[in-house]
């Protein structure tokens, strides 16, 4: 299994790449939550404009986001194919036995736009800095030490274990195992394969622990002052927070477009 590498364009040097990771984390996460708050159709339009603008500023190539849409687009398709037909009372037109409903259509528009905008901002958040720096920023923002250590360690070994699985699958295939055929034997073998991965990883973890304590694991507090905040970082953060606040305020003040329709 090929792991989705999300930070392959982390060295492009745009405004967002240069933004201090802690400020970026706060600014973009707040914006993401503000987006998920939106219910007004006009605000949806503003959301698309804002997220597209930020994406352009980030200099990330278009192919970067397109490649990552393959999995989520399956979800979108399900939403588009079901909601307009089951949700709401106002029937716009009937296609055979199916009734196309207005409320459902609006809901689809809402969900899809919010989803795509949040996805875009999320990709910008994790795509414009080395993934590890983002994790370190989380740690600096108060992620509990146990959690931070776990994220770093499991990220480190994800690739090793992933390639273990890949090789084991190849070796099974070369000995004639057809993974598409269903039988109780296939279930056993899936369980054995999973169990073997767990056993290998467990053994590895015992060695890793030894290696860690021999280099003094736990003898020093986690590093501090890894990041430096400049005034321009704070200004950028301020701009993003204001934008987020603007969205929320706008939605509360004018945001009855959808609600009115749904009543």
């Amino acid at each position: 299994m090929k792991l989705g590498i999300v930070d392959e364009y982390s060295d492009l040097g745009s405004l967002l790449h240069r933004w201090e990771p802690r400020c970026k984390l706060i600014g973009l996460m707040v914006l993401i939550f503000a987006f998920s708050f939106i219910r007004d159709l006009r605000m949806l339009l503003a959301m698309v404009v804002v997220s597209t603008t930020i994406y352009i500023v980030s200099k990330l190539p278009v192919s970067f986001i397109l490649r990552r849409l393959r999995y989520p687009s399956f979800f979108l398709l399900v939403v588009i194919l079901t909601l307009p037909f089951v949700s709401g009372q106002t029937i716009i037109m009937s296609i055979g036995p199916l009734d196309l409903r207005q409320e459902g259509l609006i809901a689809v528009l809402l969900i899809a736009t919010r989803f795509l905008s949040i996805l875009t901002i999320g990709l910008i958040l994790f795509g414009t800095a080395p993934f590890l720096n983002t994790i370190k920023a989380m740690r600096a923002l108060g992620l509990p030490a146990i959690l931070a250590d776990m994220v770093l360690l499991s990220f480190r070994y994800l690739h090793e274990i992933g390639s273990d699985l890949q090789k084991m699958r190849i070796s099974m295939r070369l000995r004639g195992f057809d993974k598409h055929r269903f039988s109780t034997r296939a279930l056993s073998i899936a369980a054995w394969l999973g169990g073997s991965i767990l056993v290998r990883s467990y053994e590895r973890s015992e060695w890793v622990y030894k290696a860690m304590i021999l280099r003094g694991y736990g003898h020093a507090p986690p590093p501090r002052g890894e990041f430096q905040i400049h005034s321009r970082d704070v200004i950028t953060l301020g701009v993003f927070l204001l934008t987020a606040a603007g969205f929320i305020a706008g939605d509360i003040l004018y945001g009855h477009g959808v609600d009115a329709l749904l009543q």
């Binding site: 089951v86 250590d149 994800l158």
Partner: protein
């Protein structure tokens, strides 16, 4: 079975984050009470990665194939580390595969993680009574795998269908929940069956793993 961004209203996602923070805090507190909490961190982390990888194994179920959720097994093996482990797994999934979501991370962690802790308590029950046998391990493995997934499915469907922006009428909603729940039954059975095979395998090959982290 992860709820993506854009569907749930902010109060629900915020409540999800709050609940996740609370359960994480509780788990971390339990972990720190152990004699040597540091000793278990590499074990729990690397097994977290391993569980993540094992969930990529596809099981053929004609006409399609399914992959395992494994939150029951994860609870059975990782104990109080299960909740942080699931949180981390979901985080990776959202960031690397755009599967699940950033705003819904808290909700999804509750859907997967809470049943996982329940599975931990179920699997611990095998130690009661007479001597631990392979048969008993298998049965409790099945129960923890199947029950954890069943609870997750229930939570997932209820949260998803009651929070779709446009209202469904109550009848449709209930019908949808029941239909989907029934559709999930075979998956729950398979999950339980494989969890049971897996714990029996582990007991035979490396029983120490089952003694918890």
């Amino acid at each position: 079975m992860h709820i993506p961004d854009g569907i749930l209203p902010v109060p629900v996602t915020a409540a999800g984050y709050a609940a996740t923070a609370a359960v994480t805090w509780y788990s971390v507190r339990k972990i720190n009470k152990k004699e040597n909490p540091r000793q278990d961190i590499p074990k729990a982390s690397i097994l977290t990665a391993a569980f993540f990888v094992v969930s990529w194994i596809h099981i053929p179920v004609p006409p399609t194939s399914v992959h395992l959720v494994l939150n029951g097994l994860l609870g059975a093996i990782l104990g109080y580390f299960a909740f942080p482990a699931i949180l981390i797994g979901l985080f990776f999934q959202a960031v690397m595969f755009q599967h699940g979501g950033l705003t819904t991370l808290g909700v999804n962690a509750m859907i997967m993680g809470l049943p996982s802790l329940i599975a931990y308590f179920i699997f611990r029950l095998r130690k009661f009574g007479d001597k631990e046998s392979r048969w008993k391990t298998g049965v409790f493995g099945f129960l923890s795998g199947a029950i954890a997934l069943a609870i997750s499915v229930a939570m997932f469907l209820v949260i998803l269908l009651t929070n779709i922006p446009a209202d469904l009428d109550v009848g449709t909603e209930r019908a949808a929940i029941y239909t989907l729940a029934i559709a999930y039954l075979p998956l729950i059975a398979i999950e339980g069956f494989i969890t049971s095979l897996l714990v029996v395998f582990l007991q035979r090959v490396r029983p120490r793993i089952l003694d918890g982290v």
